[in-house]
């Protein structure tokens, strides 16, 4: 922690964008080689030691060159989507750029969901696709797809490399662009004849793209104005998003929070940035956030947004979101400012720099807010509206998902574990109940909500952090979307643990049907197929099925003690709901299913626009 905290030093784009490898002093500098060899030499110079991929005709030369690399390990995924999610999970867990390599046509189109997932969550990836030879582009030749065109809306940038002499520069720029500014996926499309051309390999350390100059340092006047506004606030809140994690600013947020006694709320993408145990952290806000966290955000008079983009899943109905709050919006992406919510004080810059600059103001003489009354209100809400109460499910003989997640949380070592999720109810239960302490220890597809993300992302994370226990909380629907990646784990001895929260249904969609569509359960039943234990067994995993609550602790113990990949098929009843839920389009203050202990141990329905006083029992 102290590393970040004590080093309030300015981060520059040159620093952030430099290769982590040998760069221009790589041993192959100046050698004549083929384009394919230049691709591999570039990745080596960049410091890449692991890539995920899948070969094919138009990537075959790059694969051939890869065969000679002594420093790059290639992991053969079982589907290109899996490869990209694995690279993504690797990037999220490590903070490095994830790399995927695939062939043209169907190989390339199979990466689309993976690229879109990374784009929505601002994850740095470089995706290299083989392409048909230059002269055949546009002729509908075998396995041609215009992946450059297809991915335009979902990449941060892309390159179609037309000459082997452009390969090194394109790849250097791809890495620089992927990891600087607001991170994101970059595509490099390489025609197979370009991979065969000869070139002299020259790798640069720095890039200079006249049209790409992200702002790293916050405007001093804005910072000063922000400090003044904070000093006058009575009900301020730090709203932490994924940007806090990608910029590595967690400790600075905590520092500011502790010094000024300002509570912290986090989006799904911000989970892990601040320890759940920090008493000033109210945790998850939004559609499935706790009532007390949502009240904190919604009733604040000043939101200090730290790398958060006010997704509709956070704000609910935007016109009634945090009506009294002013906004200090800190983001490295100027396009996020005023996109959803007008900022009173926008500050564009790297969060680490800006928070450092802000702290400097308070080190000097800036006024500090008085928040004690606000904090005690929040504590009362936290006690009155708990996320869950055991007594709700007393005497049940089935596995209660909230309890199952809470138990898993307790059994994981916070410092040496990573939790990845799929998408659906299980994702939300995991987000609500699995406590995280460290940045990069909670990995979930927030923006795109990609079912099938969890397992490959967990595998990627496990590659990044071999010393950590990586657990994927999966849905029975989601897992089937990339179950083939179980083979990737087996073959590479990646000991991921999968807990399938198995309700034999597309639970989240079914929950909406139950609550908002008159229980008309159209197409949301999955039945008990496949038998996940047998499926895991087919991939040489250890696996077991758990059906009653008392078996859960021992099953978790066995799973966590095992040295290889392990799957638990955790059977839960089909019709459990995630609460609280703010119906889509409704205001954050209109949640359904929060617990109000003043009314007893019951879930309540908030009345539209009503205060905390007026809930009716569900």
């Amino acid at each position: 922690m102290s590393e970040e905290k004590n080093q309030r030093k300015l981060v520059t784009v040159a620093e952030a964008g430099a290769p982590i490898g040998s760069g221009s002093s790589n041993p192959k500098q100046g050698e004549r080689m083929t384009g394919a060899q230049a691709v591999v030499a570039s990745l080596e110079a960049e410091g890449v030691d692991l890539i995920f991929g899948y070969p094919g005709g138009h990537a075959i030369h790059i694969y051939d060159a890869l065969f000679d690399s002594k420093t790059i390990r290639h992991v053969l995924s079982r589907h290109e989507q899996g490869a990209v999610h694995e690279a993504d999970g690797y990037a999220r867990a490590s903070g490095k750029v994830g790399v995927a390599l695939v062939t043209s046509g169907p190989g390339a189109t199979n990466t689309v969901t993976g690229i879109a997932t990374a784009y929505m969550d601002s994850i740095p990836l470089v995706v290299i696709t083989g392409q048909v030879p230059l002269a055949m582009i546009g002729t509908d030749s075998f396995q041609e797809s215009d992946i450059f065109g297809i991915t335009i809306p979902i990449v941060k940038h892309s390159f179609l490399v037309k000459s082997a002499s452009d390969i090194a520069r394109s790849i250097r720029e791809a890495f620089h662009i992927a990891k600087t500014g607001r991170p994101g996926p970059v595509l490099v499309d390489i025609p197979s004849d370009v991979a065969r051309q000869e070139t002299v390999f020259e790798y640069a350390d720095q890039v200079n793209i006249a049209s790409y100059k992200p702002t790293y340092r916050g405007n001093a006047k804005q910072v000063k104005a922000a400090a003044a506004l904070i000093g006058k606030a009575r009900r301020p809140v730090l709203f932490v998003g994924g940007g806090t994690i990608s910029s590595g600013a967690s400790c600075l947020v905590e520092d500011l929070s502790e010094r000024l006694r300002i509570p912290i709320a986090t989006s799904l993408m911000g989970l892990g940035a601040i320890p759940a145990s920090n008493p000033l952290n109210v945790g998850l806000v939004g559609m499935h956030g706790s009532k007390y966290a949502n009240m904190t955000l919604n009733r604040s008079d000043l939101i200090i947004a730290c790398g958060a983009r006010f997704s509709d899943r956070v704000t609910g109905k935007i016109s009634s979101f945090a009506p009294d709050a002013k906004l200090i919006h800190i983001d490295i992406d100027p396009a996020e400012i005023d996109k959803v919510r007008m900022a009173d004080i926008p500050i564009v810059g790297d969060l680490r720099n800006v928070l450092g600059q802000l702290l400097d103001q308070f080190d000097a003489d800036a006024q500090v807010p008085d928040t004690e009354e606000w904090l005690s209100d929040i504590e009362l809400w936290r006690e009155r509206y708990p996320m869950y109460d055991k007594r709700l499910d007393e005497n049940t003989d089935y596995i209660v998902p909230e309890e199952a997640m809470r138990l898993l949380s307790e059994m994981l070592d916070q410092d040496s574990s990573i939790v990845a999720t799929d998408v659906g109810q299980h994702q939300m239960w995991a987000a609500q109940f699995i406590k995280r302490t460290k940045p990069r220890s909670f990995i979930s597809s927030g923006g795109l909500g990609t079912m099938g993300f969890g397992l490959p992302a967990a595998i990627g994370a496990s590659f990044a952090c071999p010393d950590k226990t990586v657990v994927c909380v999966a849905g029975d629907g989601s897992l089937q979307m990339n179950a083939q990646e179980m083979a990737t784990a087996t073959i590479n001895e990646i000991p991921v643990k999968v807990v399938v929260v198995d309700n034999s249904a597309l639970g989240m969609v079914r929950q909406w049907q139950k609550l908002f569509l008159n229980q008309r359960y159209s197409a949301t039943e999955l039945h008990d197929v496949p038998d996940f234990v047998k499926l895991a067994d087919a991939y040489s995993w250890e696996a077991e099925r758990v059906e009653s609550p008392e078996e859960v602790p021992a099953a978790y113990e066995r799973m966590l003690a095992s040295t290889g990949p392990y799957l638990i098929d955790l059977r839960i009843p089909r019709d459990q709901s995630v609460f609280p839920i703010v119906a889509p389009g409704k205001a954050l203050s209109e949640a359904v299913g929060a617990i109000d202990l003043d009314e007893g141990v019951v879930r309540i329905v908030d009345q539209p626009e009503a205060d905390e006083e007026g809930g009716k029992a569900l």
Binding site: I152, H157, S211, A335, D338
Partner: protein, 161 residues
């Protein structure tokens, strides 16, 4: 409100797709668009005219600025700027009315670039108002076909990129 944007971009394949795709995806209709190389052959200038309210407009320019291929965006709308468009009109002009049509063309300093048995093709450049006026006059003869380049614009004060 109508905005005249002058967008300086990399002169490379795919760049126009990126710019147009971005504008289309955010739900804006492009009134007019033209593109061509600049004094620097590695750069092109795209002139885009869009109709958008302030918040939407701000978002679109910010998003455009984010594209790695975009060097600079100038909104010429509130500056003094010169706007031109080139239009080709193919107008009905039977022999007996031909001279009238030619007279109109001359009036607008346009030129006749092709003559057929019963029609004339006129090339005209100018501002929106001038071209509109000309089009209205020609309509009474019957316009068979119109094709236009889209508007290009340049600022009057030499605030060059």
């Amino acid at each position: 409100m109508k905005h005249v944007l002058s967008v300086l971009v990399e002169n490379k394949s795919g760049v126009l797709s990126r710019v147009v795709a971005l504008i289309a995806r955010r739900g804006f209709n492009i009134d007019s668009l033209s593109v061509g190389p600049t004094e620097d052959p590695t750069r092109s200038r795209i002139t885009i005219i869009v109709d958008a309210e302030k918040v939407a407009y701000d978002q679109i320019t910010k998003q455009l600025n984010k594209l790695v291929c975009v060097y600079k965006i100038q909104d010429l709308t509130n500056d003094a700027y010169i706007e031109r468009e080139l239009v080709l009109f193919k107008v009905n002009a039977p022999a007996e009315r031909r001279s009238e049509v030619i007279e109109i063309a001359n009036l607008f300093r346009a030129s006749v670039v092709d003559v057929g048995a019963s029609s004339l093709t006129i090339e005209a450049t100018g501002s929106e108002n001038k071209l509109k006026g000309m089009e209205e006059l020609l309509e009474s003869y019957g316009i068979k076909e119109i094709t236009r380049t889209g508007k290009i614009a340049i600022s009057r004060n030499s605030k060059e990129a």
